[in-house]
């Protein structure tokens, strides 16, 4: 417990409260950081999370772990938000950002105990993080998007800590290819990851994961006797239903004659047939139909006609997928039959319904004027592995996106943090006053990353970190912990690299969160 910093005054006996609140906040946040600390790094372990309903998640991803935990303490919740922010900003390093924040808080707590005012600590941490980003930028290596080797290296590093790490030889190039394919040449400084569609399919092993240049639809082709494979396809995407139109509730069709009954039946057939013929006339042979909740998107009768006309039908396309599909196929969604014209349709070399595991997917390949999108089918032998594989792939995609945004890479394995610690300490020595003291504490707390890496790998943390510090003092800026060999080596030679953006955003976000936690001096419970 922090001792009372301010001299006690009789009139304000509750003066100790701010210190208590701060201490409680710091303790809570540190507890969160400690909880996920063991999952950092290539030898990090997983967490098994059992939800109230009994569902089990096994994961190594910091953001996922924290999202699943139901935290009560508001300061602890801030750390969850922090991890989410890192997930949005960089997509990777969600564990390290929380571990860093925990370590900064610990440093801050020690400084508070020494009687330094929170605002001073906060100011100097701010200064330190700005300086840290400068140092990082200076030590980063610029790279080009054509440099496939560096991209692969970063993706492999990101996958290294996951349960799918032994598949990184497959997943890393897949992630690189996927991101490179969707880059828009006009504005090549950002990538919309929504253009990469990741479909999870149970069955098979992670090795069967594949990148499809084209479109993969989760749905299977409808109808029993229709074609399941179509070469030289003309694809139409429709947003209307092919089923007998329903009269409004109040209206009734009144039949008073038996001839009229025949007519009713015939009219229905004629109506559907008319639609089917229009579709056929436009030259369409693959029809994608949007899901409808009001009535059957495609009635049995319509399916029967399409089967006869050898038109492949895929129904139940979700509304939110329409945008992606139109972008990929370069076609327009057709909202009414009058607009069903050949120019709105897309052409592809092959549309095929392929069995994957227990179910089937429809694959569209060889699309003409293909849009800047790709699909990835992730496979896994059980639900837990499958979900974790998809999460890991997402992280790898984010890493590549970071490199597109900011084309610098930096060595991994604790190298940047150690270098920062070293350079910041030196910088601090040139500063006057309390600030220097705070800055040095900040620098030291950065060493939590190499420390944790070593700890999780079963190495001796103190020996490893001091050795590492020594290497950096001698000017080996890329030296880091080689977890596989259990030694200190040059990380760039070992192929362990990460985007600059991940590290800078982790340090900036962590220090900002710490600053805001430090500035809190009271918690007011609003009644609800």
């Amino acid at each position: 417990m922090a001792p009372n910093v301010q001299p006690k005054m009789k009139a304000f006996e509750t003066k100790s409260k701010p210190a208590e609140i701060r201490s409680s906040n710091i303790e809570a946040a540190k507890a969160v950081a400690d909880a996920i600390r063991t999952s950092l790094g290539p030898r990090g372990m997983d967490k098994m999370i059992q939800s109230g309903k009994g569902d089990v998640t096994i994961t190594n991803d910091g953001a996922t772990i924290l999202k699943q935990m139901k935290l009560v303490h508001p300061a602890a919740k801030m750390l969850v938000e922090l991890s989410k922010a890192q997930d949005v900003e960089a997509g990777d390093g969600t564990t390290s950002v929380v571990v860093l924040a925990g370590s900064f808080l610990e440093a801050a707590q020690k400084l508070l105990e020494k009687g330094i005012h929170p605002t001073v600590i906060s100011e100097s941490f701010q200064k330190a993080s700005v300086k840290a980003v400068e140092i990082l930028e200076a030590m980063a290596t610029p790279m080009k998007l054509e440099d496939r080797h560096s991209l692969l290296m970063s993706a492999t590093t990101s996958l290294g800590s996951k349960v799918v790490s032994q598949h990184s030889a497959l997943l890393a190039p897949l992630a690189v290819d996927a991101v490179l394919k969707v880059i828009d040449p006009l504005k090549d400084h950002d990538v919309d990851l929504r253009d990469i569609r990741v479909i999870e399919k149970l069955g098979g092993t992670v090795d069967d994961t594949e990148l499809v240049e084209g479109l993969v639809l989760d749905q299977r082709s409808a109808g029993s006797g229709g074609p399941t494979r179509m070469e030289k396809a003309k694809i139409g995407l429709i947003q209307f239903c092919i089923s007998p139109p329903k009269t409004d509730m109040d209206n009734q069709v009144v039949v008073s004659d038996y001839n009229a009954m025949d007519r009713v039946l015939r009219e229905e057939r004629a109506y559907i047939l008319n639609v089917a013929k229009q579709v056929k006339k436009a030259g369409c042979n693959v029809l994608l139909v949007q899901k409808s909740i009001l009535r059957d998107a495609v009635s049995e009768l319509a399916l029967h006609f399409f089967d006869k006309m050898k038109i492949m039908v895929v129904k139940d396309i979700e509304r939110e997928d329409i945008e992606f599909i139109t972008k990929t196929l370069n076609c327009r969604p057709i909202a009414s039959l009058d607009h069903f014209l050949p120019e709105y349709m897309a052409s592809a070399d092959l549309v095929e319904s392929v069995p994957t595991g227990t179910s089937k997917v429809v694959k569209i390949t060889g699309i003409q004027n293909v849009g800047k999108t790709v699909s990835v089918i992730v496979r896994g032998s059980n639900k837990l592995v499958l979900e974790e594989a998809a999460r890991s792939l997402h992280d790898a995609l984010c890493v590549i996106r970071c490199l597109v945004k900011k084309r610098f890479i930096i060595a991994g394995g604790g190298a940047p943090e150690t270098e920062l610690a070293y350079q910041l300490t030196q910088y601090a020595q040139g500063l006057p006053g309390v600030e220097a003291y705070c800055l040095r504490a900040f620098a030291e707390s950065l060493e939590v990353i190499p420390m944790t890496l070593a700890e999780n790998a079963g190495l001796n943390p103190i020996a490893t970190v001091t050795d590492l510090r020594n290497k950096h003092a001698c000017g080996f800026k890329s030296s880091g912990i080689n977890v596989r060999k259990g030694a200190i080596t040059n990380m760039l030679d070992e192929g362990v690299a990460q985007p600059l953006l991940v590290t800078t955003s982790a340090i900036t976000l962590a220090s900002e969160t710490v600053r805001s936690i430090l500035k809190i001096d009271d918690i007011v419970n609003a009644l609800y």
């Binding site: 997983d46 059992q50 069955g203 092993t205 009713v264 049995e300 006609f305 837990l384």
Partner: protein, 544 residues
């Protein structure tokens, strides 16, 4: 640092308790389990996946093992018990290592390496191809799979049946590969008579009866129509109201309702069909027309059955009779052909058997047994055997059973471990040790001296790997009836190589999944009062 992880002990405990449940059912002399659920339904089985499926497992680590068994069941179909036992043994030994202060990550990487080496060794040294062994090996593999099951006494009979059935459904897919879709084999159960009177039908057996007793019971040169709609009095759609003012007209409308269906039936019969199979209902009123035409009509067939029949006979499964002119018609091309369709009485039920299908061959197995439990277990055993036959036919590689592969791998990995100088060495040695659980359990279940037998096998395998002239000793496995060791290659105990390799991989993966866990977070169920900060504060939980 404290590596002794209490959580790991807890997880391992749960995993081994699951393995202990199925342990006694491993091997040719393994025993069965009787499972009774909360409504009192009884299942008697020897199949690991079935046992674990029926257990209501709560513990998350145990669930991983249950899923493992299900996975093995889906991917391979056989070996579900052994995969669970190996996974649990791997975990148990990993726990020992962790207790000796070896970090779990070192154990994990050791296990991964060992698994990779083991798979390579199986592929390079322990596999036999079907060509080397001749046709008998198919039957032998099926027999090995059945040897632990209830039907082991009649293994010869059933093995031949499974091989024939699998061969009957062989198809070549559009990529030119030959596949054996064993799902297409229709397995029906009927209790009564003994197991030996089970029969394989070279055709399709449909578990339905003809709609009317007046219909013919047997049709040769059958023309089969498969309909996916009902032949009932036509009803108007919602929103169409029939409003009649004249009582005379009412009758006309009724008449018309049945006439529409009558016309449809007439069209079907005119197309030459004399066997009509429908998924929907057929009105009694309409049956008359079929009886008069001397045709057979079957109502309420399963759609999946009809799809297969349509494929086998060359028929088209129609969901409507509408044609492209907007009228209704029934084309003769939609009719499939078979040499004979007849109803057969088996036990209390009547079956419709379609023989001599035109487009491709089909197979159905009718299992007979003294009671329902027996039939259920037979079905599972036959399914396992069919899976084995399919794997062998598709991959064409086999390994020797009876613990031979496990012992050979264990000897090989032990010597491989000593060639490494890293921390993985210990983990690989434990992996090798864990594999011995299979021959040990086999021997224990047979009430033989496990220590003695396993030691004997190990010495044989050791000399087979160290002395080139003794290479043939690598086929030495257990003979559980005699309680000795023998050359299992000559004895004809075979398993598909794919099954062994996959089960090793799956077991290792499952063990690693559990080993990687270092913390378990349990969340309260949501119905509890949501804890607010206020409550927590008041309870003093925040005092750090």
């Amino acid at each position: 640092m404290d590596f002794v992880n209490t959580l790991l002990i807890y997880l391992v405990l749960a995993a081994s308790s699951i393995a202990n449940i199925v342990k006694s059912s491993l091997g040719p002399v393994g025993l069965d389990k009787m499972l009774v659920d909360d409504v009192g339904d009884v299942t008697i089985t020897n199949d690991g996946a079935t046992i674990l499926n029926l257990l209501e497992v709560q513990h998350p680590a145990a669930k991983v093992l249950v899923e493992l068994a299900q996975l093995q069941d889906q991917e391979v179909g056989d070996g579900t018990t052994s995969v669970v036992i190996v996974a649990a043994e791997l975990l148990k030994n990993a726990d020992e290592l962790v207790k000796q202060k070896i970090h779990p990550t070192s154990v994990i990487s050791g296990y991964r390496l060992a698994c990779k080496e083991a798979v390579k060794y199986i592929q390079d040294n322990l596999t036999l191809t079907v060509d080397e062994l001749g046709k008998d090996c198919l039957i032998n593999a099926a027999k090995t799979s059945m040897s632990s099951k209830i039907i082991s006494a009649d293994a010869n009979f059933f093995a031949a049946m499974c091989v024939d059935a699998a061969n009957a459904v062989r198809v070549t897919d559009n990529k030119g590969q030959t596949i054996y879709p064993i799902k297409a084999i229709n397995v029906l159960k009927a209790h009564g008579k003994s197991a030996r009177e089970s029969l394989l039908i070279n055709g399709y057996a449909l578990n339905c009866t003809v709609a009317s007793q007046a219909m013919v019971k047997k049709i040769t040169n059958a023309k089969i129509a498969c309909l996916d709609f009902s032949l009932q009095k036509t009803k108007m759609k919602m929103g169409v109201q029939v409003l009649v003012t004249d009582p005379e007209k009412l009758d006309a409308i009724r008449q018309r309702e049945s006439d529409i269906t009558k016309e449809r039936i007439q069209k079907i019969l005119n197309a030459g069909a004399n066997v009509i199979l429908a998924t929907g209902g057929i009105d009694d009123l309409c049956l008359k027309y079929f009886v008069e035409a001397g045709a057979m009509a079957v109502r309420r067939c399963k759609k999946s059955d009809l799809k297969r029949i349509a494929k086998a006979t060359g028929a088209t499964l129609l969901s409507s009779m509408a044609n492209l002119e907007g009228e209704e018609s029934f084309e003769a091309s939609a009719v499939g052909e078979a040499a004979e369709v007849s109803t057969e009485r088996i036990c209390d039920d009547e079956l419709i058997v379609i023989k001599g299908t035109k487009a491709r061959t089909a197979a159905s197995i009718i299992l007979r047994g003294p009671n329902d439990f027996y039939c259920d277990e037979m079905e599972r055993s036959v399914h396992d055997a069919l899976c084995v036959v399919k794997r062998v036919l598709e991959s064409k590689t086999l390994v020797v059973g009876g613990g031979a592969v496990e012992v050979a791998l264990s000897i090989y990995l032990e010597s491989f471990a000593t060639s490494l100088s890293s921390r993985e060495q210990l983990a690989i040695a434990e992996f090798a040790h864990s594999l011995l659980v299979i021959p040990k359990t086999l021997a224990v279940n047979a009430a033989k001296d496990a220590t003695d037998l396993v030691a004997k096998m190990r010495s044989y395998h050791h000399s087979s790997q160290s002395k080139p002239e003794h290479a043939n000793l690598k086929w030495i496995g257990l003979d559980l009836t005699e309680g000795t060791v023998r050359d299992n290659r000559q004895a004809g105990v075979f398993e598909p190589a794919v099954s062994k390799i996959k089960s090793l991989k799956f077991a290792t993966e499952a063990a690693i999944t559990i080993l990687r866990i270092d913390d378990m977070i349990k969340l309260d169920s949501e119905d509890k009062n949501t804890q607010s900060y206020q409550n927590a504060y008041e309870c003093g939980q925040l005092d750090g």
